[in-house]
Subunit: 803 residues, 2 copies
């Protein structure tokens, strides 16, 4: 047995809405629900002009209805706030699988038709709106980039609040209404992101209005938060720093009135907090942010019972309540009754257009959440960037490597001024590692954003701080995503190993960038920039847990159009690289750079040229003959420590085998290694062959896992001659040189590799090879005795150019 | 100016400890602190027999003192509980960077010497204990596998509670004391893991005693939880389901008394909750679990001021309070005074042995937390496994593929009985995806573990449930880690794409397995088993966000000794594979298998042989000539959907090009592709060449990113002839066949690949090639019109064997 829902009448419930307002708001909600059900089921007969026949129903019923009525309810009620208060709002659907909801709302608001002219706001367009949903060649089932007004897909759950909070930073007039699924709320990222209220300055930033959608279920289970006493839930939310208001029920009129009241109170409270903060004078005490707990049935208004099982108000409403609607006459009849229960005749006119009184409920122009320029990527302002050349370190080409600098520290001086010059358009995020990664100079011009209490010995906390430090890589990533997706710029600095914590978030962001690039009406947004430091080779205070360069492998699986990886070998190249990154749009830029004092190799001018090339010969380091000759071996390197070891190896070779023609190639832009057919930065084969030769052995010292270089180069002509050294997952707490030795990336082993690979050497260089083996053992033994690297290693310096 | 701490006297503070107990407990704590400082600084003169000279101090001062006094305090007080109550406890140091603390405690308890005979419990051993810490060739700075009693390294922060909760499941007598850093508490995984109390059944499971170590700082910043009003913090913890007790202060005597009181109360409460639950009768109401908030200064007892800056009680105490101790006479003097402030003369006798009254405070034998068999991997019991052959599906070799099964569903019937047969030794974890991934048959014999309330329409919740469902991949992973690290068995089933959420946790676990395998006294623990379903090719209800097979790439970066990847092509091979996984030890097993109805190809017997081989020829599918002949082309495949497409392509080729000699090779065990030098499962070159030929084109249809196969095979002789199809990051919500077409993995494209690659074809097969191009377009067009795959695709069936 299956039962269809019956049309409901709105009872007389007192509240902020008068009868007429209540009627209209409910009508808008019904329209959105009708259009949502239509998207899930129908490919024809959108207005039910004829009784539903199998061919009107899609053969594959895909989608998620359960969350939709809640999303639509919130959307409709926010629209009332927008109209009454001229509010500037964006909508974040945490359960983005409720895609039909926001699609429906955007169609009602007219945005859908403005952006997709074939989806007209009439019967024909409605049919197309329905048909295209989750249909091959149509639009995805989630709040994807194709969805007007969405900047949050909600496919992988957990990031709704983070995106919302990121959006309102530096957006004082914006309110981000974030619907959080009660299932989603169980995820780690969501659980900690409640704390983000403590990084919102009510004077400078906008506000987030979280709506915890307590529909009590996820896919197949109840949610934890729905199965603790309400008082325990409210206690939890209060502990997170909120003043929750509960809206609960299943009677539409009562819920409308309660929602309207709660939303009014929340908005009043937000405005009061902001007014107090903006009044001037001493900053007021932090107050709890308002929020709403919305306890309504999952799949509300859908068939209560299907095939004898309760569906409405249970987990069974999660996806498609009537899975047999095409083939099963009973299911189809219930579907039709269900749709009719929304009384479409009151919602749409003869032509299938929303009736006039519905249209009048829509906000106007860019006040429509579906048309928000923040959400749709239309408010990007350029950064003001100081000339990076003014921050470079002096390098005397006659004494390369004579000076040591902490590369990230040098970058920090430039970032300090980027921060200063862009006081409302640039933020830096770090999981408590800003200073550890040596970017502390930023703190000369700003503090750390902090709205909580300040202790006697706390340093650099600042209500208006323009760096956000919180020990959650998820929060850093999510806030930066929200900030850049709404058009602003920023940087996330993280220990290299722990960036894996946000692998999944990176994946989702890259997918969003890729998919949104194909949506014509969306504009490119600022790139998401990583600065990974405290990397695998120099995690001196820590051990194996902190040694993992594998994020590069994850990044390289994503669409080449949106990912970039840079491994600058010294301070000046890092500056030049980062200048490039902050100017770029719609990429994920990954930059790995050390924080320890290391040799400066290139002058500013050389750095600019080298970074523009992305990969090039360091002729001063090699011993090649003149034009027309070929080197005997190529020493290639990518990354700061591998570059050091390679240059040290080159200096040994020059000393020991003066006749050997060595070419030294440094790679900054890792994508240069890919074929040009695979990445926009890929070197053409001819150029690659020129640089790396067609047949000479190449000993490649690489920052990351060695097989990654093979994965990039396996189609190159000289691939069989390529020998890569890198991190082989051998690590512990030890000295820097012991680390490279553990992984055979040290200078001595690179020399051994040359001896073993250059045909003219081998037995002819046996003595040298043996000396290298001995040098390794000596170096190892020294560390065991003295606890630090041998002077012959640490004292090495570049002997001056070969020519 | 720098100031050393002064020796303190214990005031008269009332509390549960009498004067003598207080004196002794404090003495033990001072001993642990002394030994911790010694580890960070000294390589000689451990008992300060002479004034410290530079050569006594390590050249590289590495380590983290800030968290240590808190860890040692908790350890000492738990020891009291153990002695007084004969408690069985394990210790989890969330801030595992406090490694010197647990090392010191283990040495005091004698365990260190039992496990490392050269680290004797006397002056010489103390010197070695100090010297080896963070020293090349010594032990890491964290609570690594080398640390006795540790099963939680705490390098990457966030998982302390998860490991503790995992450890106590099915361990009714165990109490896991988990110190949670207040910085760590900001991470997402930690934030949500507080809820795990709701999965602990006080009758069946042990208990976790969380100690939130509110030392107010992380690396450079205060913590959020320390900078909200205490009442707000307590509200939060109550909302998480705890009854927190606050211990705050910096006067040792007062803190000792308060800690003792709080611990006593917590233990009493734990025992009361457990007694009520174990009394029989109706299960009592869920009660809040007790916990402690420990608010003590960071770096407590270290020099208060160094170089004019406050250190004790601030973030500056995080790492090494006196960084100049070797070179700077002032720092070194303060270091010596600091160490003397612990009054070593009261702690150690002339030989450097802990004085007798200290030794008497140690628990005995395996009651010592440093010697806990749970923590040290010594309590593994085998699983009872039903014979997987009894669960296989019938395959008639004359009609292969005639029957369709949901592979994971079939596996579920076997897992049901595994669950039944191992009622206290096997658990399944899922982020609300157990049924979605078709393992619901497990629910026939058990329910979902649930201690919270139960709603009218909730299904299958069970206080004694042996599946844990929570919408947090982090929680699933962390609990399973804790469960297996303490010797039990389990399985984590997850959507393939979202397993990236735990990339970082997987990395850390693999590193733990690798490093612990090198620790002789540790025994292998059960493997951590993944079942990834709802994979990239069949995410029908969702779109691009749910399509990501890249976890395999992450896994392959880890030590080959501990990782395994399987891609069973059908139900029987999945059964055989999983039987193998559940018998294995000390691996991470990744198994990817579909949940949609798909053809059964192999009989049980064939499946057993095929899985044992890991890769093999399906001769019934190919058209090779007899012995002595070579195929013209090899069609290789790995994964269920690629196997289907490959067989469909093979059937087209057989029909269209009956003279073409085709070999079909299926790969179940991905590691077979690696050289034998790179992985224990790697095929010897000779075998690989035999299987894939030395020179014939190989068209490889792969489940994941295609370049992964190249990364595995680039050293193989025939690599240049290898053409891989796989997921190229093209996806959306569409039909299954449209998905494979989008990525050129479809049968028609595989045929095109053969035409393009086999020298004898090309222009000679132009008509076939064109038909394939047309078939693709036809198939695509059909989906656009009908919303489902064309009958010519879905209706395909295996035409019967070639020979
Ligand atoms: C991180 C993550 N894990 C698992 C899923 C699979 N999934 C899709 S919807 C869903 C349930 C969501 O429940 P809830 O957040 O309460 O949303 P609603 O009830 O509003 O649908 C799950 C587990 C997912 N999308 N993301
Ligand atoms: C996930 C993660 N991010 C960053 C770090 C770097 N890190 C090491 S210690 C630390 C501070 C830890 O603070 P807390 O948890 O309060 O520990 P305690 O104060 O006891 O040292 C940080 C951020 C880490 N280890 N793990
Ligand atoms: Mg829900
Ligand atoms: Mg702390």
């Amino acid at each position: 047995e299956s039962r269809a829902p019956q049309p409901y009448a709105l009872g007389e419930v007192p509240g902020p809405l008068d009868r007429e307002q209540l009627r209209l708001l409910d009508q808008w909600w019904r329209a959105a629900n009708y259009l949502s059900v239509g998207q899930i089921y129908l490919m024809a007969d959108p207005l039910l002009r004829e009784p539903l026949r199998p061919e009107h129903v899609k053969p594959r019923l895909l989608g998620h209805f359960g969350t939709v009525p809640g999303l639509n309810l919130v959307y409709a009620h926010v629209n009332r706030l927008i109209r009454e208060r001229d509010l500037e709002a964006v909508f974040v659907a945490g359960p983005g699988h409720g895609g039909p909801g926001p699609n429906a709302c955007a169609w009602l608001e007219g945005t859908y038709t403005e952006l997709y002219s074939h989806i007209t706001r009439d019967e024909e367009g409605m049919r197309e709106l329905f048909r295209q949903f989750s249909f091959p060649g149509g639009v995805p089932s989630h709040c994807a980039p194709e969805t007007p007004g969405s900047f949050h897909e909600g496919g992988e759950l957990g990031y709704a609040l983070l995106h919302a909070y990121g959006a309102v930073l530096d957006n004082p007039d914006l309110v981000a209404v974030a619907v959080v699924g009660d299932g989603e709320a169980e995820t780690g990222p969501l659980a900690t992101s409640w704390h983000c209220g403590k990084f919102v300055n009510p004077a400078r930033d906008g506000a987030v209005l979280p709506v915890l959608h307590l529909n009590e279920y996820k896919i197949a289970n109840p949610t934890l938060l729905a199965r603790i006493p309400e008082e325990e839930l409210l206690t939890l939310l209060r502990g997170y720093g909120y003043a929750p208001r509960v809206v609960a029920g299943s009677d539409p009129a009562a819920v409308h009135q309660a929602t309207a009241r709660a939303f009014d109170e929340c908005l009043d409270e937000i405005r009061a907090i902001q007014a107090a903060a903006r009044a001037g004078g001493a900053a007021p005490e932090r107050r709890p942010w308002p929020m709403v707990v919305l306890r309504t049935p999952k799949g509300w208004t859908c068939p209560p019972v299907v095939d004898g099982q309760q569906v409405e108000g249970t987990f069974r409403a999660h996806q498609v309540p009537l899975p047999g609607a095409r083939g099963d006459d009973g299911h189809r009849r219930v579907l039709e009754e269900w749709m009719r229960s929304y009384r479409p005749e009151e919602l749409f006119d003869e032509q299938g257009r929303p009736v006039q009184e519905l249209l009048e409920l829509n906000p106007v122009g860019t006040r429509r959440m579906s048309a928000s320029p923040h959400a749709n990527g239309n408010v990007v302002r350029d950064l003001r960037l100081p000339d990076w050349r003014d921050y470079t370190v002096e390098v005397d080409p006659a004494h390369r490597g004579a000076l040591l600098h902490e590369a990230t520290r040098v970058l920090g001086t430039w970032l300090r001024d980027v921060t200063r010059l862009n006081p409302d358009n640039f933020l830096t995020f770090a999981p408590d590692e800003l200073a550890s990664n040596r970017l502390q100079d930023i703190l000369e011009v700003t503090g750390r954003s902090w709205q909580a209490e300040v202790g006697e010995f706390d340093v650099g906390l600042d209500r208006l701080g323009r760096t956000v430090e919180v020990l959650s890589e998820h929060v850093c990533q999510g806030l930066l995503e929200g900030y850049t997706l709404t058009g602003r710029h920023g940087l996330f600095t993280c220990y290299e190993a722990f960036i894996h914590i946000v692998d999944a978030m990176f994946n989702q962001h890259a997918k969003w960038l890729q998919a949104s690039a194909a949506v014509e009406w969306r504009h490119p947004v600022p790139s998401l920039n990583y600065l990974l430091s405290s990397h695998v080779w120099r995690q001196d205070h820590n051990g194996f847990t902190h040694q993992d360069p594998g994020f590069l492998d994850v990044v390289l699986n994503k669409d080449p159009a949106v990912v970039r990886i840079y491994l600058p070998p010294d301070a000046n190249t890092l500056l030049s690289t980062y200048d490039h990154c902050l100017r770029s749009r719609h990429y994920v830029n990954v930059v790995v750079a050390g924080k320890q004092p290391q040799q400066d190799w290139l002058t500013a001018e050389e750095a600019a040229l080298h970074c523009a090339r992305g990969a090039g010969i360091w002729d001063w380091a090699g011993t090649e003959g003149g034009p027309g000759t070929l080197p005997d071996v190529v020493l290639a390197c990518a990354g700061d420590v591998p570059t050091l070891e390679t240059l040290a190896a080159a200096s040994i070779l020059r000393e020991e085998l003066p006749d050997l023609a060595v070419r030294v190639v440094n790679v900054v832009d890792l994508m240069r290694l890919l074929p040009e057919t695979e990445h926009p930065h890929g070197l053409p084969d001819r150029e690659f062959d020129t640089l790396f030769t067609e047949d000479r052995p190449v000993v490649f010292a690489f920052h990351g896992y060695p097989w990654l270089v093979h994965r990039l180069t396996y189609r190159r002509r000289n691939h069989a001659q390529l020998h890569v050294r890198g991190f082989k997952e051998k690590g512990t707490t030890t000295t820097p040189f012991d680390m490279v030795m553990l992984n055979d990336l040290d200078r001595y082993h690179l020399v051994i590799d040359v001896v073993d690979r250059v045909p003219s050497l081998g037995p002819r260089a046996a003595a040298l090879r043996q000396r290298m083996v001995d040098a390794r053992l000596r170096a190892r033994t020294w560390t065991r005795e003295h606890g630090e690297d041998a002077p012959e290693v640490t004292g090495w310096s570049w002997p001056g150019d070969a020519r």
